[in-house]
């Protein structure tokens, strides 16, 4: 093949790859652009500090949904993070055990399970038994979604810690559990925090598992025992409603959700700086 022929072939291939990259980024830019043009106009102080007004009236905000999302995601972290991180450390530090292999397999299956199935599960075991919808049931569903994600990222991060570091600790007389806790875990903490933040970002936007657990609420409540509103639920309700005012609120709420996810992703980048790296 001639030299120019090779060059042309190379150009075509690179062009194709660039095209794929652009196509991959385009939807995100399009989503962001649409949300900004449609939602930014409705973003004002009222949006963040007021609760909904009766249908047909204009104005009002989604404070109730912001509070509900924060409460439920917070509770999901309390329930899910210790389990996810603990299981991840176990699966990574004792990788050959049957329990570790089983856990890893189950986590992968759970990771691929549609979130609405997890919502049904939470409905069966919590809502149906208690006889009423609650923010707590929503938290439980979100926690079940978080656990396998956090477990797998923790496992990967712990695996990255060089074996020589573990041996050095063992050679100093550290017992295994202490090696994991005092040497291995701090070394990969930034990576684990990143995984946690990404999991938080993911569940903040989950709608399906909340539909029949937290249900939603038009009033400001800060009680996990009661039905709670959440941002994705507000988007769902207002976007499918008949009023123009609702539609505007839905766009704005969607924008706030995306910004929240963006903020968490940015935060996870900062988290990857270690204790000593920050000063350098």
């Amino acid at each position: 093949m001639s030299r120019t022929g090779r060059r042309w072939k190379s150009r075509v291939m690179v062009g194709l790859l660039v095209g794929c990259t652009v196509l991959a980024v385009l939807p995100l830019l399009f989503i962001l652009g649409t949300l900004l043009t449609r939602g930014a106009g409705s973003l004002n102080l009222d949006f963040f500090v007021k609760t909904p007004v009766p249908a047909g009236e204009s104005g009002g905000g989604v404070l109730h949904a912001i509070v509900g999302t924060l409460l439920m995601v917070g509770m999901a972290c309390v329930l899910g993070l210790p389990i996810g991180i603990g299981a991840g450390i176990y699966a990574s530090e004792w990788p050959g055990t049957r329990l570790a292999r089983a856990t890893r397999f189950i986590a992968d299956v759970l990771n691929g399970t549609p979130s609405i199935v997890i919502g049904v599960f939470a409905w069966t075991f919590i809502v149906a038994r208690q006889g009423h919808f609650s923010g707590f049931a929503g938290s439980a569903a979100l926690a079940v979604i978080m656990i396998p994600m956090v477990m797998r990222t923790t496992e990967e991060m712990v695996k990255l810690v060089p074996q020589s570091l573990r041996e050095a600790a063992l050679a100093l007389g550290f017992p295994r559990w202490r090696t994991s806790l005092k040497v291995v875990l701090p070394s990969c903490l930034p990576g684990i925090v990143t995984g946690v933040l990404l999991a938080v970002a993911r569940v903040s936007g989950e709608t399906a598992p909340l539909l029949f657990t937290a249900l939603g609420n038009d009033y400001l409540r800060a009680d996990l025992r009661q039905p709670l509103a959440a941002l994705p639920l507000v988007v769902y309700k207002y976007a499918t409603g008949p009023y123009d005012d609702w539609h505007r609120l839905a766009w704005a709420a969607a924008l706030v959700l995306i910004l929240l996810v963006l903020l968490l992703s940015l935060a996870s980048r900062f988290a990857t700086r270690g204790r000593f790296n920050a000063s350098r």
């Binding site: 020589s164 050679a171 100093l172 007389g173 701090p186 204790r275």
Partner: protein
């Protein structure tokens, strides 16, 4: 410290066969041999680090002050406090400060505190020849140190709990010539207090720093003798062949 009829395996593959050898106090004992000859494995059986590798096992006698290291009664924490180890690559704990690194072995038992602790840390750093270089940044990151400094920090960390035996597994293999030289000089100081056992690829290094040398080949201990004698007039043909570069 000594071993009698020590065998070790990785899974079912034998790595050491019937190794019996004694280590004199306050001497540097070098272990030489080609790659894969079992010298590092042997070193790791002495503080029972070998068995931490999945599937690895060892059988036979390892005695420290007359007590069997492999007896079920032995407390691993205590054993590893008595038999310290320095590795091929510097293994500083990246999330701990320089001070915390040296103190880490002391705090495993959670006994030492305050001035006592900082004195011990200072002493260990001084013996390791690092004090002058780090005294102003004890609470800084160990990652800002050079490779040679990090390795001396690891030596300080190893000797801080006052072990009887110090194992070194090719401690200069990852260092530049200057860093290697400082570690070698350090060995002469260390042997006044500890029994030193060092694995090395470098025959010149063994000849320079050790009092006694053992030659390992294919998992067997071929020959042990005073370093000068072993290098000048080895008893075994295999030792001579290795020393003259005919294999390995």
């Amino acid at each position: 410290m000594q071993t009698t009829g020590l065998n070790a395996w990785y899974g079912t593959a034998p790595a050491l066969r019937d190794v019996s050898v004694g280590f004199a106090a306050n001497q540097v004992h070098a272990l030489i041999g080609p790659s894969g000859c079992g010298k590092s494995t042997f070193l790791r059986t002495l503080n029972r680090l070998h068995e931490e590798t999945p599937g690895a096992s060892a059988k036979g006698g390892v005695f420290l002050d007359g007590e069997d290291v492999y007896s079920p009664k032995v407390d691993l924490k205590k054993l590893r406090r008595q038999v310290g180890m320095v590795f091929q690559r510097p293994t500083v704990f990246p999330t701990m400060s320089i001070f915390e690194n040296v103190a880490s072995g002391l705090l495993v038992n959670g006994r030492m505190k305050g001035r006592n602790l900082s004195e011990t840390v200072t002493n260990a750093l001084t013996v390791a020849g690092l004090w002058e270089e780090v005294k102003d940044r004890l609470h800084g990151s160990p990652l800002a140190l050079s490779g040679g400094q990090q390795q001396r920090l690891c030596v300080a960390r190893t000797i801080a709990p006052a072990p009887e035996v110090v194992l070194l597994d090719e401690p200069t293999a990852s260092l530049d010539p200057q860093g290697a030289q400082r570690i070698e000089e350090l060995l002469f100081r260390l042997k006044q207090k500890f029994t030193i056992i060092i694995v090395t690829h470098n025959m010149q290094q063994a000849a320079r720093v050790s009092d006694t040398t053992s030659f390992f080949f294919l998992g067997e201990l071929v020959e042990t003798g005073p370093t000068r004698q072993l290098f000048k007039a080895p008893r075994e043909a295999r030792t001579e062949a290795y020393l003259t570069g005919r294999f390995g």
